[in-house]
Symmetry: C2
Subunit: 304 residues, 2 copies
């Protein structure tokens, strides 16, 4: 099975209570692809960068087996840039700067071999671009998942509604789910979002874990409690990457398997936050991941 992902590949300036780092390679598509690469070998990335990206990073992505034929490189232009500062609790952050750069005129064109992907992860981008990707698929994928954010609800709600009707799954955080649905209760929010299109909804709550809703089925996985959270940047995208990577590996979209995918996504996110940027996602072993998943089993298992 194959996974297509569209999203940003970007530079981030990150400030946390533990330190500050400039021009860290990040972006939704980067985290998604890297996390998914531990589960499937067939990952096709769609994104856009300027000519300012380090060759060794692109090489690192290729080494992890990620197909970069869909990555547009704009000569003489700059990559998307984001700067943020985390608060002391690491659960909230302020955006200090956003420079769209190449993203301002992004028209994704899918290479031919991308158009039959089995799974599609639409990372957080303008709904128009997300729709353009769906429209270029030659056949209906087994599952299309979408991430979005409050900004698009405020500025592009019509486009967002249109693309929501086309996707099987929405992966967003709790505040986004509340804004999108107008409901505080996440159970009610999931019901209303379901009416908008997606069959399944994952609601990420950061350090408080994640819910999976599908019809009357509800599943919850905690985030792994960690002694040190170093940098939360990319944790949500890493979750999505692990989640979609696991689905792509197994090809199984049953609720029981979606639950497992949530656990693998949570495990990958728990690695992501241990170091700055994508660093921790570059050299994991299958044993690392399997040990981490067993920690989740121990964390929630009980018998009554």
């Amino acid at each position: 099975m194959s996974l297509l992902t569209v999203g940003t590949v970007a530079f981030d300036n990150i400030e946390t209570p533990w330190g500050k780092k400039e021009r860290v390679v990040g972006g939704a598509a980067t985290y998604i692809s890297l996390a998914a690469s531990y589960f499937t070998e067939d990952i096709r990335l769609v994104s856009i960068i300027g000519d300012d990206f380090p060759d060794d990073f692109l090489e690192g992505m290729r080494k992890r087996g990620i197909d970069m034929a869909g990555l547009q490189i704009k000569q003489g232009e700059k990559s998307f840039f984001w700067a943020g500062r985390y608060h002391n609790d690491l659960n909230t952050r302020d955006t200090l700067d956003t420079q769209l750069n190449v993203l301002a005129n992004f028209n994704p064109t899918l290479p031919d071999k991308y158009r039959q992907a089995d799974f599609v992860m639409l990372g957080n981008l303008t709904p128009i671009v997300q729709m353009q990707v769906i429209e270029q698929m030659e056949r209906r994928p087994k599952l299309i998942a979408l991430d979005t954010m409050n900004f698009w609800m405020d500025t592009a709600m019509d486009g967002l509604r249109a693309v929501l009707r086309q996707v099987d799954m929405l992966i967003i955080n709790d505040e986004e789910a509340r804004q999108l649905s107008g409901q505080h209760s996440l159970i009610k929010a999931a019901g209303i979002i379901h009416e908008m299109g997606p069959r399944s909804i994952v609601v990420k709550k950061g350090e408080h874990g994640a819910f999976l809703f599908e019809g009357d089925n509800v599943f919850f996985a905690p985030a792994l409690p960690l002694a040190e959270v170093f940098d939360p940047t990319g944790a949500g995208d890493t979750f999505a990457g692990g989640f979609m990577g696991y689905l792509t590996k197994t090809g199984d979209t049953s609720f029981e398997n979606l639950k497992r995918a949530v656990i693998f996504g949570s495990a990958m996110a728990s690695f992501c936050v241990e170091k700055f940027g994508t660093e921790r996602l570059l050299n994991l072993s299958p044993q690392d991941i399997s040990d981490r998943v067993q920690k989740f089993v121990a964390l929630v298992h009980f018998e009554v």
Copy 2:
């Protein structure tokens, strides 16, 4: 096995986004005893009220099998009173009024038959009163659990340190655990609190569930996601009551059984918030509780 609990029996004025109710019977010992009464028949309550308490409520407590011999009734005085207003998210609240009344001069005296209780739950009260209860026990209980709050950390830290050295388990919320330990990470907080005395620590996170820490063992139970949370008042005490009631019923303080106790406590708390005050805790059936526990199983169960 028997459970002794000390705590407030009080009147609460409660404002939530859904309504306002005055002089609702509440208090930590009320919620703890009622929740525990679904698990064990031998519950001994230690508290103090004025002569303003409705007879039918006291009768209702007796009907649930709660021994009230340790309840002092002060003629010509008023019961403890608290008034609070919940914010829209129901996760935070403002205290509008606190009137200590009878609580200002509370010297608990344990009836003789109370002094050999197997389990002791010290509800949130001044650490001096909590210590007075421990000192009146004739033999070491199987397990003493303690609840406290930020107010005592600010105003009576020496007394709190002294009583912490005497207890087996601390049951507090996340912000209290952070203040007590000076650590943001709950894993680190649990380690530091363990050094202060308690072998086990439950950290309640309200709608985000609860952690149980004991040595290197960590367990997590989510709160049940509910479409409607009507009134969160007493949910934490109801958790503690269900938790201690289950331990008293089983007499088993192993980590595996503490995990089950967390689930039963969470189930009881999920009932509490469905109606104002203690209303939902007065008429539950064993089937209600067993069905609710099965919802927790379904919510977190997965197989990898």
